[in-house]
Amino acid sequence: VSKGPVSVTPSEPKLTIPECFSHLTMAKRIPITQADKDVHPTVLALGQQMATFTIDESITRLKATLLAFKKVIDSYTTPPGNTLARHLTPHVLNPQIDYLTACRPMCFSMGNAIRWLKLQVSKIDPDVPESDAKKQLCGGIDTFIQERISMADLVITEKAAEKIQDSDVILTFGRSSIVERALIHARLINGKKFSVIVLDDPYDRKGQTLAKNLTAEGIRVTYCGDLGGLGYNLQDATSILVSAESMFNNGSMYAPSGTCDIAIAAKQLGISVIVLCETINITERVATDSLTYNEIDPERSSGESLRLLYDTTPDKYLSLVISELGSVQPTSVPDLLRKLEESN
């Protein structure tokens, strides 16, 4: 036991990521004291939660960010001689965004939403009084959350639950809250009797939480802590249900690392892979392989070891994408984007 002054947390060891992975992004823990002075306290806290992966799922991060930005806007006053439309984004929003991005690289849904928010700010009529403008923005954010997150989740949960039939064996990977909701919905609301195989990533083991939550609702669960015997475990499954962190414009799915391996094995056995994805997670970008966009796990990576958080599953391994705007073939994901643009 060391005595004397409490040792200062050692500064992050300098990571030497192997060169072939050096282009990938990684979350960093930035001490609050080093953050820009303009960063709002709510955002400061949120950044820390993101950096430590306390808030992890794309959709959760998005919602938390939008709610934090509401507070930022709420506490904003336009300095004299400026207009909100021209001042808010560069001087107030951008420092928040930069800080959040520094804490953990933005997920695609956050990028989409922030682009939307900036557009809303720029559209504010300079003649509108500041309080009205702020109310208009906050109301807009609320509607956005309502439509793109809450309602979307509800619709997708119901649609996914409808896919589950009696005596099905659904296989899933890790824990995704929307997959969990869909399974529980199918059991409790639709009254289906089916069982679930949970495969897990042994490095974060969130699948154990899912297994417990499902058994609590009376669903029979088989749990396998890694991808060992994958081919064997898949033989029993009737379909695979996963959620996407993001969908690329070419129909590829960005999801927790390991999802692609499962989809490949499922394809070989002719088992359908169903993807749940809110349209806000669809990006117009394109990934050709898993190293185009990815994130390095800061916890488990050092000069000697590396862990990627995501992988990219090409569309040929996927069967169906369920979004709030409809269920489509993965190759039709761009159509969903177009539909969105038209409706706006």
Binding site: P202, R220, C224, G225, D226, G229, G231, S257, D261, D289
Partner: protein, 427 residues
Amino acid sequence: MGPPKGGYAPDLDKFLDTLKSRPVDASVDFLISLLKRRQIQGSESCAIATARVLLQVVAKDKWIDVDQLIGRIQLVGRKLVAAQPHELVIGNIVKRVLGLIRDEASEDRNDIANDSPPGGTTTLPPSIETVPVEKSIRPPSLAAFGSFARSQSMFTLLSDPDFIPSPSSTSQLGSGSSTPQRYPQSTNVQALKSEVIDGIEEIVDEIRQVDEQIQNYADIYIHPGDYIMVHQPSRTVQRFLTRAASKRKFTVLIVVDPSASHISDDPYASFRKALTSGGSTVVNIMNVGLMAYMSRVDKVILGARAITSTGGVVVDSGAAAIARAAREQGRTVIVLGGVYKVSPDSRSHQEAFVEWGSPSKYVNFADGRMVGQVKVRNVVAEFVSSELVNTYVTNLGAHSKDHLHGIIADHYNDEDVNFDLFGKTQR
């Protein structure tokens, strides 16, 4: 993977130490319990233990003719296989020893018939595997052996037309020769005994030399600048890569055992040091899904627990996902394993090769909700089908899937190939 503490838990070395002082039956029973408790595990250890215990059977048991000895070895073999049915090498060694006895016995007969001097040149190739394969002489010698051995196996096939695999019969009249007895009463049991014992010793030497011989082929398959992915590398794989790293620089991605990742010291520290000292790069990969890396990987090298006659490979759990990903991305998959791991076993059901382990690997027994309600599975070994493998490198060199039959023909007697060691012990 091994026992956590040094302790008093018996292992291979302790077992080998006790062999001489124990009666044969006690040694067999001891080995059976060690295999059942997985205190001897890993294909090399199992193979050596099996060979050594069979040597004791040959040396210490009272047998008066060849048939009796063969029956005895089959009986012991069945018990050992039943103790650890997933470790195919146990059956391999039993069948190798059976073949060895048959070869030595028929050699005896030839000696009497031809009246040739004892110890003269033999027509059968009982010990091809012991010919030290040096890198320099490999290609010609291998080709020569291949064709030679194949003609031999064809010959025995033809001369043995009404051969029916029968698990219980050990003294069937299969040979087309006019000899009334399968193997003539050897006038000199003692001589046969010492020949067989020497043969078993050679098998043990062969097993021990595998790593050294396989590494000679490393230069051929690993090129400068390669990105090589390995899964929980065995000593065979480590030495293979270390040899290559002494001459060239490349990058090795080691997929580590997730359950060992919380341990602070790197399980592959010395391996890493050996590679990095030559300028190569080593990265431990902390993922179970490896498709993410595959666009960067050039080759995947897997250590085999066993290789079946159809080219399927029994591997550590998790390696099959890598092989699958490699195949999807069009990457090369190379399997390393000694010839003693090539098994005449031809079971085609993949499930037969899945070995289950303790569910406590990832789920804590204190976690009541998991233990009580969830069915927890943990796979220890799984199967990679031959379509996913490009090349097999053994101590005899590189082989294609189609050449594995030749290896089996060279190393096993046809009568033993189909002998069902997995059948329930019937006597």
